[in-house]
Amino acid sequence: MINFETPNSIKDMVTMVQSVAENMMRPVSRYYDDQEHEVPWDYINFMHNALKQMEGVGGPNDSSGEAPKIQYQRLAVMIEILSWGDTGLYLSTPVGLLGAAAVRATGTDEQKKRFLSRILADKPVIDAMAMTEAHAGSEMPAQTRTTAVLDGDEWVLNGEKIFVTGGHKALVDTDGFVVVWATIDPSAGRAGVRPFVVEAGTPGCKVTKLEKKLGIRASDTASIVFQDCRIPFDNILGNPEIKQKTTKGFKGAMATFDASRPFVAASALGIARAALEFLKDKLAEENIEIRYGLSRALLTNMESEIIDMEVMLRSAWLLTLKSVWMMDEGIANTTEASMAKIRAGDVVVKITQKTLELLGPLGYSKEHLPEKWFRDAKINDLYEGTGQINRLIVARRILGYSRHELS
């Protein structure tokens, strides 16, 4: 059973990260929402330095002395707090995001060392993952059209990826990298798909569009075109048994999601907590108290709604904790990761929507942050698998169905 007691080392971190969220993020949250696509250098540089001092938040492959059994938990707790600060900024944190997760899930030890070490190098770098293509959303990576052809000791990539979170920061603003899912055999379907690391500055790789979005505006969402983009042979993640038509690449992508979904859930719940706390603070200002312990027939509507939101938030957080605890314990967590993502996605959307309603005209005004959280929230039910895709994953698992039996 998971341990409900927060380890002391995490408690210490909480204090620090909460201070970052309050002092470095909240004050600029509105600014970077208004100034879409402006890079939050102050925050990025600050976090880069802070993280170098506060090692051990990058998952088990970092070099800290942290007991490995709680490193994923520690990361989840950190992400929840940073997202409480500002999700758009959190998604710009040079901490090892989706690209790093892909490296961790699919790379060899040598590759993990090579690519993940960049994160704690002198200058901040952002990593990203390029999977989605315009013609297919939820069917990626199986429907990949971006190709990788071996030419000598280089791979040549051609194709276009969309919706790359942080793609511009990874390739243009910093010397980061993008993990690109491409097929080495278009006739092989998902068996041909492999992950490749494309580093910033590689010729033939170009950011062609930045999306204007509903929320998370401090984080860029990029389209990237690969045109005869050549990368070293060794940048194919994992053992390059390229002739074998296994679904290893596909499974690697799935493993990346298993490893990243709990953190999307954690991020979502940070936003949800921010909204709920705002509402409760507002009530406290008016000396309105929440009377826990009463039957529904005796509560006010405000009390009842807040109590329901607290149930949603806490239960989703515990599911998230369980899914990272499983990672820390080395237990396969596909079902639990998707469950956490489903519930966190639902919860953050419901809580932010409800909070706006209960705040009346205050909720609708940009003078306050809840309207921003309402916009930021929705991404969590959409990216890294929509609520529907994650329901499909959980359903297949509990029913013991293949993707042919249930799609």
């Binding site: 959303g137 069917e139 509903l214 309207e371 529907q388």
Partner: protein, 353 residues
């Protein structure tokens, strides 16, 4: 109905094409509001003797409001703005007020005659207004704060709602009144193309004649009901827009070997959206019909807006969900509809039928 047909065409041909840019630029094309005004939606509810050319029909009003909101919510509210100034006067003003105030406000061109109702409290409720009016020897003195007042900056006259001895009453106030202070343009989650402002009333003195209905006042509850119904109808219109867009998208977007609309999860969402819209629309129509037939519509109108608020949130949120990642991108209209949709429970006091 000819009026509704022309409103529908206007919404499709004029509002839809400009809605995205108007929202991004936070500006409505002026000639568009003028063109919308020429449809005569407000004028059709005012008798000829006061400068209009018809008779008030809440049912016609909700049909028109639905169509306008289907086109664009910010524009819909803008076009209907003078209605919320003249209808309370028509329904509750003294004969003298009707004669002197209405025709000025609804001339051949759209003019910024506006109402101020909403207040910046989380628990704002029209029945519990915090802006107060106190009777003095010379007339009334108003004190309080209003928000989401459209076009306040260039308003030619304000109709301000305030709490007078625990009843809701309205007062005509000139923008020149020295107790009046118009704030910066507001930034809101939705209806970004509509310019709205905060309005502070600091010991604003008005003469006795400024009170709608004169000494006896008027039944403002009836106005609140008519606004409830109007906002609910706007909610129906924008929800229908989101539903239709999501339906078309779901039929075109392919995944797993066919349109995503062939997946039960998507298809059932759409079926529920359609059912919800149809159900709430009937509530709106019934409440409007009650208003037109002098039945007590207070409860029905309130329930209609309650239902419409939940419907608008549910339908627009699902439309975004059905579009997946594209739903989150401002190139597509659904995220705008979701932002506007969340406002439905807050817009009470921004339109009337």
């Amino acid at each position: 109905m000819m009026l509704i047909d022309s409103v529908r065409r206007f919404a499709e041909n004029e509002l839809r094409p400009m809605a995205h840019d108007a929202d991004e630029n936070r500006e409505l094309p002026a000639q568009l509001v003028e063109k919308g005004w020429q449809l005569g939606i407000v004028q059709a509810s005012i008798p000829e003797q006061y400068g209009g050319f018809g008779e008030r029909s809440a049912v016609t009003g909700v049909l028109a409001a639905e169509e306008l909101a289907w086109g664009d919510l910010a524009a819909a509210i803008a076009i209907m703005t003078p209605g919320l100034y003249v209808l309370p006067i028509l329904l509750g003003g003294t004969e003298k007020q009707k004669e002197s105030l209405i025709s000025t406000a609804i001339g051949s061109n759209w003019k910024p005659f506006v109402s101020a109702i909403i207040e910046p409290q989380f628990d704002f409720s029209p029945l519990k207004m915090q802006t107060t009016a106190i009777r003095t020897d010379q007339g009334y003195t108003l004190q309080g704060k209003k928000v989401m007042v459209p076009f306040a900056e260039k308003a030619e006259s304000f109709l301000v709602f305030a709490n007078l001895d625990e009843t809701l009453q309205a007062f005509v106030i000139s923008p020149e009144n020295k107790g009046l202070k118009i704030g910066e343009r507001e930034a809101l989650l939705g209806i970004q193309a509509l310019p709205t402002f905060e309005l502070s009333l600091n010991a604003v003195s008005v003469p006795f004649e400024a009170r709608i209905g004169g000494e006896d006042g008027f039944d403002a509850q009836n106005i609140i009901s008519a606004s409830n119904v109007a906002i609910a109808a706007l909610g129906v219109g924008l929800s229908r827009a989101a539903y239709e867009f999501a339906l078309d998208y779901a039929k075109e977007r392919e995944a797993f070997g066919g349109p995503i609309a062939q997946k039960q999860s998507i298809a059932f969402m759409l079926a529920e959206m359609a059912t919800e819209i149809e159900a709430i629309r009937l509530m709106v129509w019934e409440a409007a019909w009650m208003l037109d037939n002098s039945k007590d519509a207070f409860q029905a109108a309130y329930l209609a807006l309650t239902g419409a608020s939940d419907m608008a949130m549910m339908v627009t949120d699902r439309a975004v969900q059905i579009l997946g990642g594209h739903g989150y991108i401002r190139d597509y209209p659904v995220e705008r509809w979701m932002r506007n949709g969340r406002g439905i429970p807050n817009f009470l006091g921004m339109a009337i039928v």
